[in-house]
């Protein structure tokens, strides 16, 4: 398997608060990585760093072997290759679902609505949103909004998808429809990194689970190992609390 993304000794702090404390992580092409850990353990920050929404203080992020964390590098081309979906959806409320999805490809790749139409329609259909294209975000349920947000990221045809606790803001009965989307993406071979509190789901889909604690990856391994036989006490404590 090809190495797609590699984090080397990533450090990040906000003021005096250290959030990432030397993180090493390798992600191979087509893999699904689940980051688990308590709130504030650094999962979200790590994803935002990979997407270059935050600058790292120290260390390196390699995408296909090229350092994307170099100071002064233009973040836009990198972001076009790495999609991110947020816990709070962050759809643009003044645009319909289909406009939300088309905006970036139109502006970044200079494509017209007509050129994008077939591809975008396929995406909406695939995720059960065909009749929701003309709806505004506040006319959609949380689950639908989050699926539109995923479609919006996919429309840029990213090589990696980062998913930041994307089911945490959803009502329990809506979680399933969003997780189904992720299962589909995984089947199609998308490389994904999820920060998640859905332990059952992580166990089901993850090729590798990383337990983050106080800004470091305390333990990582295949799902069966982390959930079945965790080595570290803190991992065991955490899993006992959430399972």
């Amino acid at each position: 398997m090809n190495e797609k993304l590699r984090l080397k000794n990533v450090h990040k702090s906000f003021g005096a608060q250290k959030v990432c404390h030397g993180i090493d992580l390798t992600v191979n092409e087509g893999e699904t990585i689940c980051l688990i850990g308590a709130s504030g353990s650094g999962k979200s920050t790590l994803l935002r760093c990979i997407n270059l929404l935050e600058d790292i203080d120290e260390g390196m992020i390699l995408l296909d072997g090229a350092d994307i964390s170099k100071p002064g590098l233009d973040p836009q081309p990198v972001r076009q290759r790495i999609g991110i979906v947020f816990q709070s959806f962050n759809l643009f409320p003044h645009m319909t679902a289909v406009e939300n999805v088309m905006l970036a490809p139109r502006r970044v790749h200079g494509l017209s609505r007509a050129e994008l139409r077939p591809r975008v329609e396929t995406l909406f259909e695939r995720f059960g949103l065909a009749d929701r294209m003309q709806s505004y975000p506040d006319q959609l349920s949380g689950g639908q909004q989050q699926r539109v947000a995923i479609v919006r990221a996919l429309a840029m045809e990213p090589e990696i998808m980062l998913l930041d606790e994307i089911t945490s803001a959803l009502d329990p009965e809506l979680v399933g429809e969003v997780l189904d989307v992720l299962r589909q993406l995984r089947q199609q071979g998308m490389t994904m990194i999820l920060a998640t509190h859905e332990m059952k789901f992580a166990r089901e889909v993850a090729d590798k689970v990383c337990f983050l604690d106080k800004g470091v990856i305390l333990e990582e391994g295949p799902a069966e190992q982390i959930f079945g036989a965790p080595e570290k006490n803190r991992t065991r404590d955490f899993l006992r609390r959430v399972l």
């Binding site: 929404l53 836009q76 081309p77 962050n90 643009f92």
Partner: protein, 270 residues
């Protein structure tokens, strides 16, 4: 059939409507009784509320008001554009654009810090004093410019507060898709910001509508100046009252409209 609760609520509502109507009627009757009792009432009535002079001056004032409306109509869009430009200057983040940022800050400080009438005087008398040829010495142009410069400083601050009110997560979401700073601003932040501050800008429009009358101090015969002419002619203040009535006919509906917009927006957000 009403439930006891519905019946009670209906009776309570009727009672409060009755009390409100009765107390309003009492207050108005008291005013109508008391004001004519004041010693100077006869004189005030004659010099401010003279029906005959009102009827004579009203049509001419209305015609003069057309000029106010015209000045308003060409100033308003220019204020919106220039105000937006200043707001964007103040939001410029690239170091190379620092001069713009500085300019935006200075601009809003200066033009919000000086009374409108002073700007109207300084520009309206000052610039034509340069001896420019016609039509460039027209007080319409320079008076309008004074209004545009002043009002866009306020409007810029309104736009800026709107831009700041768009949550950072919207910017992140847009940036994460690979959009440039400019497109993040133009396609995501600005449309939301402009909508959000529309009621505040409506209030600025209402204020502008009245401040157009300040141009009367540098020449144009708009409604306030026309009223002044009639005041001198008839030695009576009724034309001013007539002018006030004309302003109110325009500004009260506009104010109500702005209030309704604001209320609707607050309802949407809650």
């Amino acid at each position: 059939m009403l439930t006891p609760r519905q019946d009670y609520n209906r009776r309570a509502r009727r009672r409060s409507i009755f009390i409100a109507a009765a107390s309003t009627a009492a207050a108005i009757s008291l005013l109508l009784l008391l004001i004519p009792l004041s010693p100077g009432w006869a004189a005030v009535q004659k010099s401010f509320f003279n029906a005959e002079i009102f009827a004579k001056s009203f049509p001419v004032l209305l015609r003069a008001f057309v000029l106010d409306v015209a000045i308003f109509l060409w100033c308003a869009p220019l204020i919106a554009l220039w105000g937006l430009a200043i707001a964007l200057c103040r939001d410029a983040r690239a170091p190379a654009l620092y001069p713009l940022r500085l300019f935006g800050a200075l601009y809003t400080d200066v033009f919000r810090g000086v009374p409108v009438i002073l700007i109207v005087y300084l520009i309206g008398f000052g610039v034509p004093g340069l001896g420019l040829p016609r039509p460039w010495n027209s007080p319409y142009i320079w008076g309008s410019l004074a209004l545009i410069l002043t009002y866009s400083a306020y409007v810029a601050e309104i736009f800026r507060s709107g831009i700041d009110s768009v949550h950072a997560s919207q910017r992140s979401a847009a940036a994460s898709l690979g959009l440039s700073d400019w497109h993040v601003m133009r396609d995501v932040v600005l449309p939301q910001a402009v909508r959000r501050v529309a009621p505040a800008n409506m209030n600025m429009l209402i204020a502008l509508q009245k401040d157009v009358a300040l141009l009367s101090f540098i020449g144009p015969v708009e409604i306030l100046r026309q009223a002044g002419v009639y005041k001198s002619l008839y030695a009576n203040f009724t034309p001013y009252v007539a002018a006030a009535v004309i302003f109110l006919v325009v500004t009260i509906p506009a104010t109500r409209f702005a209030d309704r917009m604001l209320a609707r927006q607050q309802k949407q957000r809650s």
